[in-house]
């Protein structure tokens, strides 16, 4: 009996004869049922939100009618919406790129395990574990032109305004970089540490340069880890809300009005639920398409990295 199970470890294992076959086949479903109910419970408001987007539902109009695509037409024709799309895109791309470059750099430097690195590695995750909204509060105090410490330390005087129309978006990106660069760094560092040592030792013996080894060996093998970090960061940046909301609440003007902040204004501030839901539905489509594309790229990279490790 034992030998049989060893030969076929993945096949359905032995059971007590008292357990009927039908019950055994149902077991995974029974175990998953509560979780499935939670999923349904969360999908319900989600679907309801999609339904709102074809109504004219607002606090001022409690008995809505179906207006089909009128909301989409009006939102898509609104230049404020496209400003939000642009701001969201700039925020997501800039923050993800900066965080990835810095995170990979920090991971490479920490991987050398110098004395300095070993000390810092312990505190690397601190900013990441602080609530984004608290990070926003902290930086808002530091950005303050009059008493904020940044202008003092950097010698910018008391008239330099970090949250002015031109700078607010980049200041928000700076806060995001401060919070989330450690996320990329610890993921990539864990990836680097799991790489096999032999290829590097072999090419070092061959006299390969640092740059050659980095580009031809490390980068291809590390790529899946970097991509996992990029996917998480990019998707989260598309729905950035917390830190921007406390920093600027979307302003000045429309300067930092990301899509989620736009949706918040429409649905909570102005209580136009249908218009807010339309915003969210459009953002959801963007997120969905991006996610599918990035996951496909990740799959390709994982297969290639597996090939590189075998070489």
């Amino acid at each position: 009996m034992t030998t049989v199970t060893k030969e076929r470890p993945t096949a359905p294992g032995p059971e007590l004869p008292t357990v009927p076959d039908s019950r055994r086949r149902l077991r995974p479903y029974i175990l998953s049922l509560p979780a499935l109910l939670v999923v349904v419970g969360i999908l319900y408001p989600f679907v309801l939100g999609a339904y709102y987007s074809i109504l004219n539902y607002a606090a001022a109009n409690p008995n809505p009618e179906v207006v089909w695509f009128a909301n989409f037409a009006s939102v898509l024709a609104d230049s404020d919406f496209w400003t939000s799309v642009r701001i969201t895109a700039v925020f997501a791309i800039a923050a993800t790129v900066i965080e990835t470059v810095l995170g990979v750099g920090i991971a490479l430097l920490l991987n050398r395990s110098s004395f300095v690195g070993k000390i810092f590695e312990k505190v690397l995750i601190l900013p990441l574990m602080i609530a984004p909204v608290i990070a926003g509060v902290m930086w808002k105090l530091m950005f303050n032109p009059q008493f904020g410490v940044l202008n003092y330390v950097l010698g910018l005087g008391s008239s330099f305004d970090w949250l002015s129309k031109n700078l607010a978006l980049w200041s928000s990106i700076l806060v995001d970089v401060w919070t989330y660069t450690p996320f990329v760094a610890i993921l990539v560092l864990a990836g680097i540490r799991s790489l096999p040592r032999e290829p590097f030792e072999a090419s070092e013996v061959d006299g390969a340069s640092w740059w050659y080894m980095f580009r031809r060996l490390m980068l291809p093998m590390m790529w899946p880890y970097i991509l996992v970090a990029v996917i998480f960061r990019f998707m989260d940046c598309l729905k950035a809300f917390d830190s921007i909301f406390v920093l600027t609440a979307g302003g000045p003007g429309l300067a930092t009005r990301t899509l989620q902040i736009g949706a918040y204004e429409d649905s909570i501030t102005f209580q136009n639920y249908s218009r807010g839901s339309t915003y969210m539905f459009l953002l959801w489509i963007i997120v969905f398409i991006t996610a599918r594309y990035l996951v496909k790229v990740l799959g390709k990279a994982q297969r290639r990295a597996a090939g590189a490790e075998e070489e």
Binding site: R112, A131, P132, F214, V228, V287
Partner: protein, 287 residues
């Protein structure tokens, strides 16, 4: 240039430059925290007038946590802390009770619909929160769940459930089935084999998932911002209220509150540092 892999311990120019670059990052990363600590220890008179030279006091922390702070700023921070603990603890317990069986099923057996369920869970992680909150805001107001802890625990499942299920599935997948088979051969029932064999072996995974879920629930801001008011509102919302509290600026109190609110996640995170990477990547990166 510095070496790519650890090993050499020579003091080359490359090594020195690398260390300087590292110090640069950590000055940037740690300075805001240090500055908050300083600001939190200033008196009201010093909060806007001095930068580094002042007579430090711990009074702000006391003020924030007592009635005096509430009278001053109309923010009841102590009860917000308690609410955060109840909301997040409740959400994690519900997620564990419901999520562990589902994670076990998905990790142990291939069955129809399993991948769909898992993918749905993951999509919650990436869905824009407001898509769900706006309808929930309407529903909660209708059924009386608005500004209740039960309502918060329910909506926090969006944060905690995907984490728990995905992390634990990866742990259950790594668990060799032979161990449970052996227990079954010894006459254990499936349920006993699960409780006595499988569950203890993934205990580190459960602890990591639970603590990480707690951290993310604690750090959440949008849900209590929109779906709670005075009754079920949490630390993150309370901290932002200090900024505009009572028309007057209490920056030193804001800083003290921010530090208190940031402390639980920091302490918990440092205690599960070994499992953090796997948790943060939903099991995608194992270290």
């Amino acid at each position: 240039m510095a070496e790519l892999m650890p090993g050499q311990k020579r003091l080359t120019p490359g090594a020195v430059i690398s260390d300087i670059a590292l110090v640069g990052w950590f000055v940037f990363a740690l300075f805001p925290l240090l500055w908050m600590l300083l600001l939190a220890m200033k008196t009201p008179a010093e909060q806007t007038t001095t930068y580094f030279a002042f007579s430090p006091t711990l009074e702000n922390f006391v003020t924030v946590l007592t009635q005096r702070g509430t009278d001053l700023t109309s923010v009841d921070f102590k009860s917000a802390l308690l609410t955060s603990v109840i909301n997040c603890g409740g959400a994690v317990i519900v997620s564990l009770l419901i999520g562990i069986p589902a994670a076990y099923a998905a990790g142990r057996w291939k069955f129809k619909g399993s991948e769909d369920l898992m993918f749905n869970m993951l999509s919650f992680r990436f869905a824009p929160e407001l898509m769900v909150i706006v309808p929930l805001f309407v529903i909660y107001n209708e059924v009386g769940l608005f500004d209740t802890k039960a309502g918060m625990i329910w909506v926090l499942q969006l944060v905690t459930m995907p984490l728990v299920v995905w992390i634990l599935r990866s742990y259950f997948q790594d668990l060799p089935e032979d161990l449970e088979q052996a227990a079954l051969l010894d006459g254990y029932t499936r349920r006993r084999a699960f409780v006595m064999v499988a569950l203890p072996l993934v205990r580190p995974g459960i602890a990591a998932a639970a603590l990480l879920a707690f951290i993310f629930a604690w750090n959440n801001y949008v849900f209590p911002l929109i779906l709670a008011d005075t009754n079920a509102s949490t630390v993150t919302v309370a901290i932002t209220k200090f900024l505009g509290g009572g028309g007057q600026a209490y920056y030193n109190l804001t800083a003290a509150a921010a530090l208190i609110g940031a402390l639980p996640p920091l302490v918990l995170a440092l205690s599960i540092q070994r499992y953090l990477v796997r948790g943060l990547s939903f099991g995608a990166v194992k270290s």
